[in-house]
Every structure is written in C-alpha cells, then in structure tokens.
C-alpha cells in the first residue's frame, strides 16, 4: 500500500511529525534564511541577457551632438523657474513648440489627507507640460515616454535641458515608428499620477485634473530622467515601483548593455559592481545590494517617477545621474547618446516587453535571481505554519478532538477575531479622521498628530486581551485557544502567501518576524518573556528595525533619535502613499497583519 493510504504508515508519519515538530520547524526556518542569504552568492545567480529578439544587440549608431546646448537650455529653464517661482509653463510650451512638438498642458489639483513635511499645505496645485513628437510615417498607435521632473531649487535642471535637447535631435530623424512623448511633470509623483490617470481615462485615487487634449497611442515603455549636475560620474538605475512592482528585466538589460557599449559607469542601489565574488567582502557587497532592493520593494512606494507607470503595464525605469568624487567624468553628450541608443532600440519593439522576467532580485546589475529561485526561501518559512497546524491537529488527542463535549463555543472564538479586526479598522481610519481633534488638544503638527495617533492605537491594542475577557462570560477553555491558534495559523499562512505572490520582499520580511511567534506562542509559555518577544517581533518593531537596517546599508547610519524621527516619517509616508497613489502596504499592515498579530497576543493572554 502507498505511504498515505496505509493507515499504519500514516499513523507512523503523523507520530513522527508530531514528535519532531519543533526541531523540523527550527530547521526549516534556518534553511529559509540560509537560502535567502545564499541568493546573493554569485554561482547561484544567472548572468543577465537580452531576451527580446526585436531589440537584439546594441547595434546602433548614436550621433547626438548637442550636449552643451542642452546644458544651456537647462540653465535657461532654471532662470525662468526662479522668476516664476514654480513651473515656467509658458516658456516650456514656447520652447517645445519651437522644436516642432505638439505641445499640451494639463493642470491638476490634489487635496492631501494631511499636509506632509514636504508640501506643508492641504492643496497641491500644478501643471504638467508635455510635447508629442509624431512618428513621421507610422500610424499613431504606439508611444514611448521620456520624462523629467520639475523640482524645486536647483535640482533636475540639466534633466529638463537634456530632454529638450533630445527632443530637438529626435525631431530630425525619420526612423521613428512610435510617437515620443516628452513630459515635464510638476510635484513629482502627484503630477505623474494626474498625467497617467488623464492619459488612461481612469480615476482611481480621487484627484482632480483637466482632461488631456493630446494623446499618442498606447505607451510601450517609459524612462524618467533625473540629472542635477553638468557632468556625472555614474548613472544609477532605479527599478522599484508602486507596491513592489518591477519593470521587465529586459529594460534593465538594455540599460546595462548600452552602459557597457558607451563606457559609462552604471550602478544599481547606488552600488558599483564588484568582481571578487569569492571573497567575503565581495559576497557581502552583493548581499547588501540585494537587501537594499528587498527593503525598497517591501516598502511598496515608488522610488522614482517611473514607479506609477508599472500599474498600467508600461515598463518604466528611472535613470539618475550621480556626481561623486571619481576622476573620470561623463558629459551630457554621452548621456544623450546613451538615451538615443536606448530609444532607438525601444523603437524596434513590435510588442510590449514580455520575453524576460517580471519578478526578480538583482544582487548586481549584471546578475539576477528569478522567482523560481527565490520563492523556495519563502516556501520554507510558510511550511512552518502548516507544520504547526498539523501538530495542533494531531497532537495527542487524535483526529477528532474538536467533537468532544467540552468543545468551545463559536462566540468565544469569534469575539477575539472580531475585536482584533475592529482594532485594525480603527488603526486604519482613526489617525486621519481625528487629526483635527488631536491638533486642538496637543501642540503637534498635523503630520505628527496622525502618526502619533496611529502609534497610540497600536499600543492600545496590547491592552485588549485583559479587557476582552470582561466581555465574555466564564473562562475560556483549553480547547478554545487551540482552535483560535489553528484559525490564526491558517489565516497568517494564507495572508503571507498571498502577499509574497504579489510582493515577495514584503511577504518574506513579515514572515521572518511573524512565523516564529505564530509557531510557538501558547498560553503556557512564560508570560513576561513571551510578551517581550512578541512586542519585539511585532509588525511595528519590524518596521523600526528595517528603517535602521536600511540606513546602515546605505552607509548613512543614524543615531537612535534620528532613527525614531525617520520611523515616524516612514509611517506618515506610508499613509500618504496609500491615499495619493493607492499603495497597499499600509492597509495590509493595518487591516490584516496587525489583527493577526493581535489574535496571537490574545492567545498568549488566554485565561
């Protein structure tokens, strides 16, 4: 008979699982962490390669000559920006028109839920300016986008100058098969969101914008340019977008191939590639790069203006020019040539980029790990939850324990679940709703009010179990907490599984902290120690550690005080991202993960 259909063998298997459950769980956890850390080890990764046949090699002749003129245009833009005190719309419209583009503007207003430290006001008003270079011979069915943000102060002037210079150069070429849209957006992501919503006729986040007068067909790819200096030493590629979505790997491969061809230093996460993978420092460098990507992806916020394109299935990336203290400098003409080469290759595309991977991690710009290789790390962590479910089902009492007379009532299980979720709902809605009241009673700004309310509700949830039992009549039974634990384990497994499918980094980081406590919490463990561990591994504290680790990895370590302020600003940014762009991290943590953790907290204090 087979292994599972033979009752004797099945009993032996279940006995083995129940006897060795704890050691197997610990081993799985360590194996999962080891697998994850091993992903950065170079022999386990694959070299990147161009998958799209139509883009082929970098076989193209780049002839962009006008780098100096682009810088002059950038200086003119800076002067006009200073004069107007914001976006020089008229000057931009006139300049784009003189370059032969079809120019349109879009004005937008956005009401923020609370004024954050950057904007300091409730209403944000702005204008986007974009010019369309029509393809000379092609039907207007497809488009490419090149965008540069209009930022305050002295930032990104060179980017706008280069954008206008490229527009003039591209206008004289006849080999464009797609329309090219040159976009200058105001207020970074808010303007970009308004433009994209107007372009695609959707309104998911409740902004107010004027409809777009001119369109260019379906957008195949987009690049966002950030350049703040006349010469650069390296180009940084930013891939992470909203909700941890990544563009197709072929876009990164294209960028890397052209950097190699033209001879520009290129980095990812601001880190240069190293060749010594077999040394400890080489390995740790790759691991740091990968960890930075994981943390950025887990945060769910778009790390460049390109991040909002991904939602519309448009492959987009941001290219940032960095001027550090290296000796070899690259001038604007070379950057222009690199962009020209990339756009000529994107011009050859016949379909959207789809041949390469959409889910990957990059320990360096020339190496990647695909989903098939990194998912087992999460799988090993998720299997621990299932092992504990099996343990609780088959523990000593056999299969049918829940039909014994002392089975718990539905109410005693349902009450903690409902109360936990209502606390989650409170955590989600109250901070923004009650900011008025908080500002009246306490001497804090609106942002601080929102964040501190959130933290207050979070901590108040810790007092729940003591109060829940006042509501219930009688005491909870031994069976009660077991059933509740089963529910919590299954709930957590489904939640983490779904999260990991969409955003592997977020799912993995949450699993790292929540799976141990979910696995081993019972009312019989020593209360004080377990409570301390649970608080230390709660989602809020995990976020705090991530902030410190992130700063450490970026080689800008912070003191505890600064770290705490950074933590508060991260929470406010998360709430703001959710309200403005539809980021799902804050609702996920508040409405689903936090109640799940509260359920486990309830189990700990079960009487």
């Amino acid at each position: 008979m087979g292994l599972l259909s033979d009752p004797n063998r099945r009993r032996a298997l279940t006995k083995l699982l129940t006897r060795l459950n704890a050691p197997i769980c610990v081993m799985c956890y360590l194996a999962g962490v080891a697998w994850f850390m091993g992903l950065a080890f170079e022999p386990f990764t694959l070299r990147t390669y161009m998958s799209e046949n139509a883009m082929g090699s970098t076989m193209v002749e780049e002839r962009f000559p006008a780098g100096e003129r682009a810088l002059a245009t950038g200086r003119e833009f800076a002067a006009h920006k200073k004069k107007v005190g914001g976006m020089p719309v008229d000057w931009l419209v006139k300049t784009m028109q003189s370059r032969g583009l079809e120019v349109f503007t879009q004005s937008f207003t956005r009401k923020l839920p609370f004024p954050d430290e950057n904007k300091e006001r409730y209403m944000v008003r702005g204008t986007n300016v974009y010019g369309i270079l029509r393809a000379p011979r092609a039907p207007r069915t497809e488009a490419l986008v090149l965008s540069a943000p209009c930022s305050e102060g002295n930032n990104n002037n060179q980017a706008v100058g280069l954008l206008l210079g490229l527009a003039q150069y591209f206008r004289s070429q006849i080999h464009w098969a797609k329309d090219i849209i040159f976009l200058v957006n105001e207020h970074d992501l808010i303007g970009m969101q308004a433009w994209l919503e107007g372009y695609h006729h959707t309104n998911t986040t409740g902004g107010d914008w004027s409809p777009l007068q001119g369109r260019g067909g379906s957008i195949q790819a987009a690049l966002s340019l950030e350049l703040s200096s006349d010469v650069i030493t390296s180009l940084d590629l930013v891939l992470e977008g909203l909700n941890g979505q990544l563009p197709n790997l072929d876009l990164a491969n294209l960028f890397y191939a052209f950097c190699q061809k033209i001879g520009v230093l290129c980095t990812i996460q601001g880190k240069l590639q190293r060749n010594d993978w077999d040394t400890t420092s080489g390995y740790s460098h790759a691991a740091q790069t990968m960890m930075l990507m994981v943390l950025k992806q887990a945060s769910g916020r778009p790390w460049g203006d390109h991040g909002l394109f991904l939602r519309y299935h448009i492959e987009a990336a941001s290219i940032r020019g960095i001027n550090s203290f290296r000796q070899y400098k690259t001038d604007t003409t070379t950057i222009g040539r690199l962009l020209e080469g990339m756009y000529r290759k994107l011009n050859n595309l016949l379909e959207r980029l789809h041949q390469s991977y959409f889910f990957y991690l990059m320990p360096s710009l020339s190496r990647f790990v695909s989903i098939g290789y990194y998912m087992p790390a999460f799988g090993l962590l998720a299997v621990i939850l299932l092992l504990r479910v099996s343990f609780h089902l088959w523990d000593n009492r056999g299969f049918y324990f829940y039909l014994t007379p002392s089975s718990p009532g539905v109410l005693s299980i349902l009450t903690p679940v409902v109360i936990s979720h209502m606390t989650g709902v409170a955590l989600y809605t109250l901070p923004i709703l009650s900011q008025e009241m908080a500002v009246q009673h306490f001497p804090v700004s609106e942002t601080e009010a929102v964040v501190l309310t959130a933290i207050a509700i979070y901590t108040a949830g810790l007092a729940l179990p003591h109060n829940t039992h006042r509501l219930l009549q009688g005491e909870g039974t031994e069976e009660g907490w077991r059933v509740l634990k089963l529910v919590a384990l299954l709930y957590l497994a489904v939640l983490l599984g779904c999260t990991a499918l969409i955003n592997f980094s977020l799912g993995f980081i949450l699993a790292l902290s929540l799976v141990p406590i979910a696995a081993f919490i019972t009312p019989h463990t020593p209360k004080a120690l377990s409570a301390a561990i649970m608080v230390l591994l709660s989602p809020g504290c995990t976020l705090l550690y991530c902030v410190f680790v992130f700063q450490e990895l970026q080689e800008t370590p912070v003191s505890l005080q600064d770290g705490w302020m950074l933590f508060l600003s991260v929470i406010s940014q998360g709430i703001l991202d959710h309200a403005l762009y539809g980021s799902l991290v804050y609702p996920l943590l508040a409405l689903l993960i936090y109640p799940c953790w509260l359920l486990l907290w309830n189990i700990l204090f079960w009487k």
């Binding site: 082929g56 076989m59 193209v60 002749e61 006849i174 464009w176 000529r344 050859n348």
Partner: protein
C-alpha cells in the same frame, strides 16, 4: 560545328524559371529580404526576365517605418548596392506568402483567376531555381511568417507532384536557414539538386552588421554566394562543383551541404547558367523554309523540324 551545337542541347531545357521566397517578417529579419533580393538581382542580370520569376517577400523592409533610408534595401554595409532598386516586381507580398500559396505555386493548382505573374508556368523543359530563406529553429521545418511551418516531407511531396505533372526538367533547390540540410533530406524525385547553408544542428550566421540602419544586412552564405555570382556572366562556363565550394567553413562558420544523388547528370557538367541564367538556345537549321506558304502551315513545318532534332 554540329558537335558544338549538339553540346547546347545536352541539358535538354529550353526555358528557365526562378521561385525566390523570403519567409520571415519583422524588422529584425531585414537580412532575409536582402538575401532574396540579392539573388533576384543576380538572376535578372543573368537573363531570366520578371515574367519568369516568382518573387515572394513576407514583409516590406523598404517602406518599414524604422528604415532610415526609405525605399531602399541594402545588402552591403557601406550601402553600396541598393538591391531594391526601381524595377523590382514582387509577386507575393506580405501576408500572401503562406505555405499554401507556396505549394500552390509549385504544383500549379491555382484558382483560374490568378494572374500570370503569380503563376509558375513551367513545362517539362524548364529548369527551375528555388531559393528559400528564413528562420528555422527545428530540424526539418521552415517557419513561414511566424505562425506556420512547412516540413521537409511536404516539400518533397510537392516536388514529386511537380515531377509527375512534368513541371520541370531539372530543379536546383537552395536554402539559407539554420539547419538547412534537414530540408532536403526527404527528396525522392529525380533531377533534383539541393544546396543548404548549414548542416543539421548548426546555425547559419548573419553577416554585415550595419550601425546606421541598426540591423544585420545579409546572411553569410548568401553574401558569399552573391560574391560568387557577381563573377558569372551569361557566357561563363563555371559549373556546379564551383558552386559547392562557395562559403567554406572558414568563412561561413557553418558547413554548407549539398545533395546530388537524385540528379541524373554529373554536377561537373552542369553550368551555373543552366539555372541562374536564361541562356537562349540558338538552333542552327540548314533547311530553307518557304515563308510565302500560309502561316499555319509554315509554323507546322517549323515545329516538326524542331521536334525532330
């Protein structure tokens, strides 16, 4: 004199046809169209008229939006030779190049409304040159237009149909794709000679990367074939053995293959111009013909005289 005249008729063909097919579309397959057009140019130069050439191009490269030099197709990276020219006549274009149309052209089973330019009106004294180029990833198949394939068995059966219907005297089949030799493995009809650019398991490589246009302009085998054909003129006596030597492994990286076991004559006796050119046979007659007799009658005499030779 008589003996020399006799030599002219040793091949037994009286007219030449060419069927030149490019099976792949998309801008990055520019080189396949350039291949076909180069062979078209050579064949026209050596004498086969447009009425005897069936040219099938699966995509329009000259007017593609991405072509920086519109209305041209170049075969050499210094843009020396525009093989598209002003007088190209494409018989099957774009989506008309399908397996079904190709086989119908070969076997002659076309609907009565098909114009003459789209038909292969060969007879049993025709020498036909068939040139195929495209992409092929598998052993024994040639991909047409990204969505269908022709197999080597289908091709062999088509040629057998042609033989049974007496649609050719001798047939030269040239194929320039990856694993090209697999396409002629299954031939079984007489008087077929085949050349391929690579053996089974080998890839045919491209040549001539052009940075201004942004694509490869030619494939290696056809590039060297074209170079070889540039030296051929209508009176040339080069034979098939020279053609087999075109593009050795040192230049082509792949190993060109050929098959002559079904061919009745010795390849050394077969002139290149038997297939690539349209050498008009001059028939010397010693008789006088009275042209004042009624037209029909005199034509009958001429035909009788001709057939008796």
């Amino acid at each position: 004199m008589q003996a020399k005249a006799g030599q002219f008729f040793s091949s037994g063909h009286t007219n030449n046809w060419a069927v030149l097919v490019c099976t792949s579309r998309f801008w990055f397959n520019y080189r396949h169209v350039a291949n076909t057009l180069s062979v078209y140019r050579s064949v026209k130069r050596l004498g086969i008229p447009d009425s005897h050439i069936v040219l099938m191009l699966a995509d329009d490269m000259a007017c593609n939006h991405r072509n920086p030099k519109p209305a041209t197709v170049f075969s050499h990276k210094n843009m020396e030779l525009n093989v598209y020219g002003d007088d190209v006549e494409v018989d099957y274009r774009g989506y008309e190049v399908t397996v079904e149309n190709f086989l119908r052209v070969l076997t002659g089973r076309l609907p009565p409304s098909t114009p003459r330019s789209k038909r292969l009106l060969s007879d049993d004294h025709s020498n036909i040159l068939i040139y195929l180029t495209g992409t092929s990833r598998w052993n024994g198949f040639l991909k047409f237009q990204d969505s269908e394939e022709i197999s080597n068995v289908e091709l062999a059966d088509a040629f057998e149909q042609m033989w049974t219907k007496r649609r050719y005297n001798e047939l030269l089949f040239i194929i320039d794709t990856c694993q090209g030799a697999s396409m002629y493995e299954r031939f079984y009809s007489p008087n077929l000679m085949a050349l391929a650019s690579s053996q089974v398991g080998e890839d045919s490589l491209s040549h001539q990367p052009d940075l201004a246009i942004g694509v490869h302009l030619m494939d290696r085998y056809t590039f060297y074939l074209l170079e070889f054909l540039e030296d051929i003129h209508p009176a040339s006596t080069a034979n098939m053995n020279d053609l087999f030597k075109v593009c050795p492994k040192s230049q082509c990286v792949s190993t060109p293959g050929h098959r002559t076991d079904l061919f009745l004559r010795d390849p050394g006796n077969v002139l290149i111009t038997d297939f690539f050119g349209s050498v008009r046979k001059v028939e010397i007659t010693m008789e006088t013909i009275n042209l004042t007799a009624p037209m029909v009658f005199s034509i009958e005499i001429i035909i009788k005289n001709y057939c008796n030779q």
